[in-house]
């Protein structure tokens, strides 16, 4: 059974108040106030002096559980929202793998589910490991992105992105945290360029996310009452407040504390919120928790993964 053996997160130290981004992003005063009042966004983390290569390398270097096990890593999967991030033929993912003794691993990137690609990467890692003839083979799932364009900095009226990265060691046989269920709906009709209207996407966003959350819970043989925590995507606070009303789930059990200070870190939110839950003593052995993500861009993806700690 797919298990998350260890998770490491890199969050840049530099915090930038969202007011400082108003000029560069062309935000009006009311848009900034909306982000603070309802979206719960106060500041974002940026690391202008560090490249994507640096971000990934720092996240992997922080994964102490990997040390000495590099030769067991058969797969490295980068779950990423942005399809293109460096000029050809640069490849920071492959460079980092070579530098850190992972050059032998089958290494690739998935971007097809935008910000939900991190969960897709975990699911793929589990499937590859399940078919691997070596029983104790491992996979490394990475996330990490730079906010290098306006599109990579801002989801208008919805969220502001931060930079950051994570590294997650996945095994097929680990004791924890075990993946019990994965539900994923891909909605091509919400393609950002040729799809349905933004208004329809906004209207169906919460019901669609609620649907995969309920399905993952049900597939694990559980009810929402059994779920100790939800680790959200950090798109904003108001979305989760309203989603919780729809789910009849207490918003106090959704780990939203990183939204105000870290913004939305593409595919890394799930892993950062996991570390926050762990370090805050919010998860105990045997607890069930749910990780949720939404990707939008070339179609929309709604994902939920259910784990037991």
């Amino acid at each position: 059974m797919t298990a998350l053996d260890a998770v490491s997160v890199y969050t840049p130290e530099t915090s930038v108040p969202i007011e400082n981004l108003a000029g560069p992003l062309g935000l009006t005063d009311i848009q900034v106030r909306l982000f603070r009042r309802f979206h719960g966004l106060n500041e974002v983390r940026l690391d202008r002096d560090r490249s994507l290569h640096d971000l990934l390398r720092t996240a992997v270097s922080g994964l102490t559980a990997l040390r000495g096990k590099e030769n067991r890593v058969h797969y490295v999967i980068h779950g990423r929202a942005m399809p293109v991030v460096v000029p050809y033929p640069e490849n920071p993912l492959h460079d980092v793998c070579r530098e850190l003794g992972l050059g032998h691993a089958l290494t690739f990137t998935v971007t097809q589910q935008s910000c939900a690609s991190g969960l897709l990467a975990v699911e793929l890692a589990g499937r590859l490991l399940a078919e691997d003839p070596v029983r104790d083979a491992l996979a490394l799932v990475l996330t990490g992105e730079k906010t290098f364009t306006r599109d990579a900095q801002l989801l208008p009226g919805t969220s502001i992105f931060s930079e950051g990265a994570s590294a997650c060691l996945v095994s097929a046989t680990g004791r924890r945290d075990r993946l019990l269920a994965y539900a994923c709906d891909q909605r091509g009709e919400f393609d950002i360029e040729i799809g349905e209207s933004t208004e329809r996407f906004q209207r169906e966003y919460r019901p669609a996310l609620a649907s995969v959350i309920r399905r993952a819970t049900s597939e694990a043989g559980l009810t929402l009452d059994d779920i100790r925590l939800i680790l959200p995507h950090n798109v904003n606070v108001v979305t989760w407040q309203r989603l919780c009303l729809l789910l009849d789930y207490p918003v106090e059990r959704v780990v939203l504390s990183n939204v105000a200070t870290n913004g939305h870190v593409f595919c890394a939110d799930a892993f950062a919120n996991y570390r926050t839950a762990l370090e805050g003593g919010l998860l105990h052995e045997g607890d069930h928790y749910l990780v949720a993500a939404v990707g939008s861009g070339n179609g929309a993806t709604f994902s939920a993964m259910l784990f037991q700690h």
Binding site: R37, P156, E199, Q202, V238, R242, P250
Partner: protein, 93 residues
């Protein structure tokens, strides 16, 4: 989890109806009359992001803070329903 029932301040509700209607006229660039029974999304075309802008401006005009945590969009679909919610769940600054 439904929003808890709250006592309605009738005077505040009236001011909320007026403020919401005036703001909808401005935000949606609409000249036709707006009445309490109108569905804001379906009939008037209010998106959820413009809906938040509407709430922010209502808060500022009425000098209250609305308890948005308990606000169920399904129960605040008309101008009148939103005004009732605002009157029952708005705390003075």
């Amino acid at each position: 989890m439904a929003a808890p029932e709250a006592e309605i301040d009738v005077e505040l509700r009236e001011r909320a109806v007026d403020a919401i209607a005036a703001l909808l006229h401005r935000l949606l660039k609409r000249e036709e009359p707006i009445t309490e029974d109108m569905l804001m999304a379906e009939q008037l075309g209010l998106s959820s992001s413009l809906g938040l802008e509407l709430l922010l401006e209502v808060e500022e005009q009425l000098r209250i803070q609305i308890d948005v945590e308990t606000m169920d969009p399904e129960r605040t679909r008309t101008v009148g329903e939103l005004a009732t919610f605002v009157a029952g769940h708005g705390r003075p600054w």
